[in-house]
């Protein structure tokens, strides 16, 4: 039925259909994803919020083809791509920079993988590193960067990858609020320019509300979609949006829903 519907509608950039997954290690079973469905229309920005350990990163691993779900499918542009890799730009939760590459080469890695690490890419990477406060650290190895600097390098690496769909797993968690909002604004600018489709995991309701068109609230483990929140604010979003009463109201509502859920299943 669902399949029928989506074939009629214009294809989504990314559609996640009834994904379930259980980790099996020896005799232990840990159900992590429970019938998750969500969709990312082309050119849109969605966010995922859920308690720590509920299965968000695991969901990304399924989208990226790293893990095979027990049930359900991943569709991109209407095509079943479950288990296929290389279709998304990915910013992992841990920076995972390669210690033997300097920061510039790390930033260029994803571009290299798709064969586009030419002179122009180098220039672009340099410019972006400057923008992200990493100017002068092009030749520094990852162990010489601070935690937040590593995270920014990883973020740039993901942005420089050419794929349509971008999956960001808590990309700004180690940044101070100013650097963070600077990065957010920049991400929005880039996104508005290129109209790529973004899916973001975040623990910050503010961040989700500022950036996204839709927010999916996940339950505790095994993660299921608890709520889908459409963010009504017009774009481009105002700098002072966070003080808008509507914003605060929505924030409070999301907070309440999460709290309610967590009360049912304490973390």
């Amino acid at each position: 039925m669902l399949t029928e519907k989506s074939h009629l509608a214009s294809p989504e950039a990314l559609e996640i259909r009834d994904i379930s997954l259980t980790f099996r290690e020896r005799r232990q079973h840990l159900p992590v994803l429970n019938d998750i469905s969500l969709s990312l229309p082309a050119g849109k920005f969605i966010s995922i919020i859920g308690p720590s350990g509920c299965g968000k990163s695991t969901l990304f691993h399924v989208i990226g083809g790293l893990l095979k779900p027990d049930r359900g499918n991943i569709l991109m542009g209407g095509q079943n791509v479950t288990g296929q890799r290389g279709l998304i730009s990915y910013v992992p939760q841990k920076p995972a920079l390669f210690p033997w590459r300097n920061t510039l080469d790390n930033v260029l890695l994803a571009r290299e993988l798709t064969g586009g690490a030419n002179e122009a890419a180098h220039e672009e990477a340099r410019a972006w590193m400057n923008r992200a406060g990493l100017g002068g650290f092009e030749k520094a190895y990852p162990h010489m960067l601070s935690g937040g600097m590593q995270q920014r390098a990883s973020f740039l690496r993901g942005l420089l990858a050419p794929q349509e769909v971008i999956c960001l797993d808590e990309p700004f968690s180690s940044l101070d609020e100013l650097t963070r909002s600077d990065m957010q604004r920049w991400l929005l600018d880039l996104w508005e320019d290129s109209r790529r489709s973004v899916i973001l995991i975040t623990h910050s309701v503010d961040e989700a509300l500022i950036l996204s068109d839709t927010i999916y609230l996940l339950s505790g483990r095994p993660a299921a979609v608890l709520h889908r929140v459409d963010v009504p604010f017009t774009r481009p979003r105002r700098e002072d949006l966070t003080e808008d009463p509507g914003f605060l109201e929505l924030k409070r509502e999301i907070g309440a829903r999460m709290k309610e859920e967590q009360r049912k299943k304490p973390i």
């Binding site: 210690p99 033997w100 993988l113 798709t114 162990h143």
Partner: protein, 256 residues
């Protein structure tokens, strides 16, 4: 500053070697160990100063043999490790045969090599290769299979092909292991060459030693050993330098 660093890395081994030589010299004269059992460093030095000219030819021959054999052995070891790593089925099936290759002693192997390959350089290269490839292959396979999980996951998620994972993640990650294997192989390659020369040669340090053995010239044997050791140390040192140059990214052990 740089000079001082160099000096700091040179003097401890130098002191150790000199101490060792002094002890040796003292022991030989203290216990009246006869020259044909164990010559003293002084005896060896004397021999070196008078009889070294003829040894140069042998040294060159061995050097040529061992460098070629070492290069081929290392290449074979690496290629084998790469192939076996990329095709896990190959790995599990061929491992016993690789171990087998280390268990055919020269006295059984030498006649076979001679019959199949004659008396040229080929059978000798095969012997050195057999000696060298094994530590390289084992160390490389171990290093390759231990690539960091988080980085590996990233590479897969980013759509890296098997080849890209191999060249951009697994090889750089395995490099320290590989170099450790190559260091072992470099040390063995020298003895490998000597043994290869025992199974039939008309020049080289191994051949020279054999002759000196039959005429009780223990001092000359030890002179030959000194040359072997020098070559070995040089090889090891070169690999260690290469390692320093290749693996620059590491934080100095006690930086700041």
């Amino acid at each position: 500053m740089k000079l001082r660093q160099l000096w700091n890395s040179i003097w401890p081994p130098l002191v150790a070697v000199i101490l060792f030589l002094i002890l040796w010299q003292a022991a030989t004269s203290l216990f009246h160990i006869e020259k044909w059992i164990l010559p003293s460093p002084a005896d060896i030095a004397k021999e070196a100063s008078t009889g070294a000219a003829g040894l140069w030819r042998h040294t060159l021959a061995t050097l040529r043999l061992l460098l070629l054999g070492f290069a081929i052995g290392t290449a074979v070891g690496l290629l084998m490790a790469f192939a076996l790593h990329v095709v896990p089925f190959l790995k599990s099936s061929l491992y016993p045969l690789i171990i087998l290759s280390q268990n055919v002693p020269t006295i059984a192997l030498a006649p076979l090599l001679m019959i199949w390959f004659g008396f040229g350089i080929l059978p000798k290269i095969i012997v050195i290769t057999l000696v060298c490839f094994f530590p390289v292959a084992v160390a490389a396979m171990d290093g390759l299979s231990r690539a960091d999980r988080v980085m590996l996951d990233y590479m897969r998620m980013a759509g890296a092909s098997k080849g890209q994972i191999f060249t951009k993640l697994e090889i750089p990650h395995a490099l320290p292991s590989i170099l450790s294997g190559i260091k072992i192989a470099a040390t063995y390659s020298v003895m490998g060459a000597v043994i290869a020369e025992w199974i039939g040669a008309d020049k080289g340090i191994g051949y020279y030693m054999m002759l000196q053995k039959s005429s009780f010239r223990t001092d000359k044997i030890f002179l030959a050993i000194a040359i072997i050791v020098a070559i070995s140390l040089a090889m090891f040192g070169l690999i260690a330098l290469l390692e320093k140059w290749l693996i620059r990214y590491k934080p100095a052990k006690d930086d700041k």
